[in-house]
Each structure stands twice: as structure tokens, then as C-alpha cells.
């Protein structure tokens, strides 16, 4: 669905390339998580995927970015937008109307969605994001998290083939973040939507993504399954990416030779692995009296 070849980009006002020698293939229907330290070029990579680069931010563009068979340099931003739905980092700037319902309608009206279908799409997207009760609210009165949910809902309603989201859960609490990731995973699974998420919450990425891309200083350091990427916890830490605590713990045990199973991506994996290591009988007695946090500690 997305194919990036030898992509290097330098913003007009900057001397050094922000991203360089990027090669990445994202299959249709996959859920890809991109993470990395601040300023590593993650957002620039998303701008290349949704066509904002080169159409809105001028600079030196080398290589090629193909989305659904279209070259982003040769295809207009409006045409690309009918394939790629984007949620930007700055939510206030993304919102163009004053009322929640109008914000939902904006893209649907512009893309010529049948008026008979519009109402159902708005209802579905608002319900999916859990903000159906906010439909008639003035956007200025919403909290940051509610605005973020609205921004995501307004893009989900468009049902694009590709979703590119830049830190979509930055203003959300843990429960809402989990809800958003579950929803994105459902869109990828049920609708075949290709989902690309830039996110700092690596625990969520590793839980839901099919592929984890680690960007370091403008280059892709790792692009593989979460399990394979998280196996490099020491290297990830060096470039400013923290692994989930359960992964770090089990990787340390593996390093010490105590554990030699697959990489653990979350608490459940770690519990299973510890039960395996400690032996079922001993573990059954001990684990029964421990909470998950105590196990990690």
C-alpha cells in the first residue's frame, strides 16, 4: 500500500536532511507503529506518506513515495487525501469548524459522500470514539482529549484506505488511549485499512502493531515485528526509546541466562514466561498471591 524508496528530505529552511535513505514497504491492511526520540524525523515521515511533503512543505525531495500505486510527487494533495486520512499532532489547528457535528460533516461533505450515507457515518464514528453525546457541543468548550477524539472520529468517518496518525493519543488518558488503539486495530482488521501511527507509547504500539519502525536521527534503525524489534532493548535505550518494563525485565533475565523464550511484549507475556521459568507448581502458589505490578517489580 505504501512503498518508500531511498527517500531523503531536507526542509527549505534547514541545511541537513531531516530524514534520509528511508526504505519502507507497508502492506495493505497492516498496522504499523513508528516511534523514536523527539526530533528524529517521525512526523516528517508521516508528512511524506500523506502528501503534505512535498505539496505543502517545500524542500529537497529525493527518492520516491508511492501510496496505493500513486506517486505522491505527481499526485495532487486533494487526490491523495481521498486515499489517506490524516490526524495531525496539533489538534487545535486541525479543527476547522466550531461545532462537533459540523466538524464531522466537513470532510464528508467535501469528498462528496452521499447525503443519505453521511448521517450513518457520523453516528458510527462518534459512537466508535465514545463521543456521541458531544454531537451538538461547541468545540471550544471541549477538553484536549475530547478534541483529540473528535479529530480522529472526523477522519474515521471518511473511511480512507490509509490512516496516518501523528501522536493520536498525546492528550488522552490510558483508558482512552487503549480504546483508540483497539479501534484502529479493528479498522485494520475489519475494513482492511492500512494504519500508520506515530506514537511515544511503545507499550501500546508493541501490543497492537504488526510492524514497529524505530526512527533514529532521520534514519530507520529497525523495521520489523514488535517482538524482533523489542529484542534490541539495550540499543533502543541508547537511541532514546524505552521498551515496555515487562520487556526490559524479561530481556534482562534472558541476558543473565535465566530465560530463553521469545520476547515479551506486555505483562501477560511476562507472567506466562515467568510461570514457564519458575515451573508450574511453584509458580501457581506464588503467582496467585501476587499482583501484576508486584510480578514486574
Amino acid at each position: 500500500m505504501i512503498e518508500i524508496k531511498n527517500f531523503t528530505f531536507t526542509y527549505r529552511e534547514s541545511a541537513e536532511p531531516v530524514v534520509q535513505d528511508i526504505n519502507l514497504t507497508i502492506p495493505a491492511g497492516s498496522f504499523v507503529g513508528i516511534t523514536g526520540a523527539a526530533g528524529s524525523g517521525k512526523s516528517t515521515l508521516t508528512y511524506a506518506m500523506n502528501g503534505i511533503i512535498p505539496h505543502c512543505y517545500p524542500g529537497d525531495f529525493y527518492g520516491s513515495v508511492m501510496v496505493d500505486g500513486l506517486d505522491t510527487c505527481e499526485t495532487g494533495l486533494t487526490d491523495l487525501s481521498q486515499i489517506v486520512g490524516s490526524v495531525c499532532q496539533d489538534i487545535d489547528s486541525q479543527i476547522v469548524t466550531s461545532i462537533v457535528e459540523d466538524e464531522m460533516l466537513y470532510g464528508l461533505e467535501n469528498f462528496g459522500v452521499s447525503h443519505r450515507e453521511i448521517s450513518a457515518r457520523v453516528d458510527e464514528a462518534l459512537a466508535d470514539m465514545g463521543i456521541a453525546d458531544l454531537r451538538d457541543r461547541v468545540i471550544a468548550s471541549l477538553s484536549g482529549g475530547q478534541k483529540q477524539k473528535l479529530a480522529i472520529a472526523s477522519i474515521l468517518a471518511l473511511k480512507p484506505k490509509v490512516l496516518v496518525l501523528d501522536e493520536p493519543t498525546a492528550e488522552l488518558d490510558p483508558a482512552s488511549s487503549l480504546q483508540v488503539f483497539q479501534l484502529l486495530a479493528r479498522y485494520a482488521r475489519d475494513h482492511g485499512t492500512t494504519v500508520v501511527v506515530v506514537e511515544q507509547k511503545i507499550a501500546l504500539l508493541s501490543q497492537f502493531a504488526d510492524m514497529l519502525v524505530i526512527v533514529d536521527n532521520g534514519r530507520i534503525r529497525f523495521a520489523d515485528t514488535p517482538a524482533n524489534v523489542l529484542a534490541h532493548s539495550e540499543e533502543l535505550l541508547e537511541i532514546g526509546v524505552n521498551c515496555p518494563r515487562s520487556t526490559t525485565l524479561m530481556n534482562r533475565l534472558a541476558f543473565d541466562g535465566i530465560y530463553n523464550g521469545p520476547v515479551c511484549r506486555n505483562v501477560e507475556d511476562a507472567c506466562d514466561a515467568l510461570i514457564e521459568v519458575l515451573g508450574h507448581s511453584a509458580a501457581d502458589n506464588q503467582m496467585a498471591s501476587l499482583t501484576e505490578d508486584e510480578v514486574i517489580a
Binding site: 500523506n50 505543502c56 487525501s81 479543527i95 466550531s98 467535501n110 469528498f111 471550544a140 471518511l158
Partner: protein, 256 residues
Amino acid sequence: MNGFLEYVPGTSLLHRMNPVAKLLFAVLFAITCFCTGNLVFLCAMLVFALALAASCGMMKQTFGLMKAVFVFSLILAILLIFTTPTGDRLIDLPWGYIGTGSILAAVTTIVRLEAAAIPLFLTFYVTKMSDLSNSVVKVLHVPYKYAFTFSSTVHFIPVFMNDMKGIMEAQTARGVEFDVGGIVNKIRLMVPLCVPLLVSSVRKTNSAAIAAEVRGFNLRTRDSGYKQYPFAAFDVAAMVLAVLLLAAAICITVFL
């Protein structure tokens, strides 16, 4: 009070009226106020405007507007008092005099501006900005980009005001004292803050333009709008009333 030009929800007749009818009524009402200098008629228009405000529960906000308009119109009124030497002589001036006509002209100006402003003010507060822009595109065939520019400008006013508030709070936390030394000191301290506000405003505006474009701004046509804006009987009645008021004002000016 809500933010500047921020929609106030409600179910009054004014809320339910067609946005175009509201806008045309307000514009004709304002023109009517400027078509006559008859103080009695203008006072009647002001009372009518206040009744409209009361009908949609906007009296408090309307008095706030009247206060602001009064300050502005007072400047004009003072100018008129000193530059319109008509009527019975009250006070002699080196270049003329202040007469009863001067006072009447000043009062007329204040009443006229107050009366003309209220319906326009109400129109923006009881109509969703998107309804207003979509309806003028659909009904009056105004190009969408102009309507969008206007609605976006209004949309961003509270955003920029919040930004300014945030910048001022950050400066206050660093020891800048905005609350001492009066308005002059406050303005003096605020001027340097306009630079970061301007930078963030330009950045936000650019991001908003991109956001609109990636959501199909360029594909929008006059028929894209989902909502319909039919004219009901009271919309037609309101416009007929506005025309009658205008005709009455012209008649009073011509025949009295």
C-alpha cells in the same frame, strides 16, 4: 459570557430562523437605522432590537455589547457636539457654538449605532458560524472560499486569545507584573508578546489551511453542504417586516 462571536445554543424563534433570513433582516435593520435621523423612530428601533434580544435570552450579552458600542459612539458624539453648530445656541466656541441641534445629533448617533449593532450581534450569537457560511454559499451563491475565510477567522479568534492568555500567564509566572501600573503599563508589557503570538498564529493558520486541504477543501461545491436551509413563513415575515421598516424610515426622512 461566551467567547467572541461564539454560538450560544438555544431554541428561540431567532435560533430557529433561516440563517440567511436572519442576516438579511439584520443588515436591512442596520440600513434602516442609517436612513433616518428621527430620534423617536430610532428609539423605537432600539426598543425593538432589545425585545429581539430578550426573546432569545441574550439580554446580558446585549448589554455588554451596548456598553462597548456606547464607548465608541461617545467619541463620535463628542465630535458631533463640537462640529455641528445647529439649533438654539447653548455654549459659544471659538469656531462656532454648541446648540440644541448638536446635542440632538450626538444622542441620535448613539441611539442609531446601538440600535443598528444589536440585530447583527444577535445574528452571529444565535447562528452557528458553519450554518451562516453554508447558507450564504447555498442561498446567496457567495463563493465558498470567502465564506470559509470569514468563518475560519471567527473560529480562530478564541484560539488566538487563548494563546495570548497562555503567553501572558507564562510571563506572569516569570515575574512580569501585568496587574500593576494601569492599562498603559499593561499595553507596554504586552507589545513584545505580540511577536510569539504572531509566530504561533501564522503557524496555526498554515496548519489549518493544510488540514482543510487534506479534508477536501478544493473539492467543495455549492451543493456539497449536507444541511438544507429552507425558508419558513416566519423567515419571509421577518424579511417583509425589515423591508417595511426600511420603507417607513425613508418615508419619515422624506416627508417629515
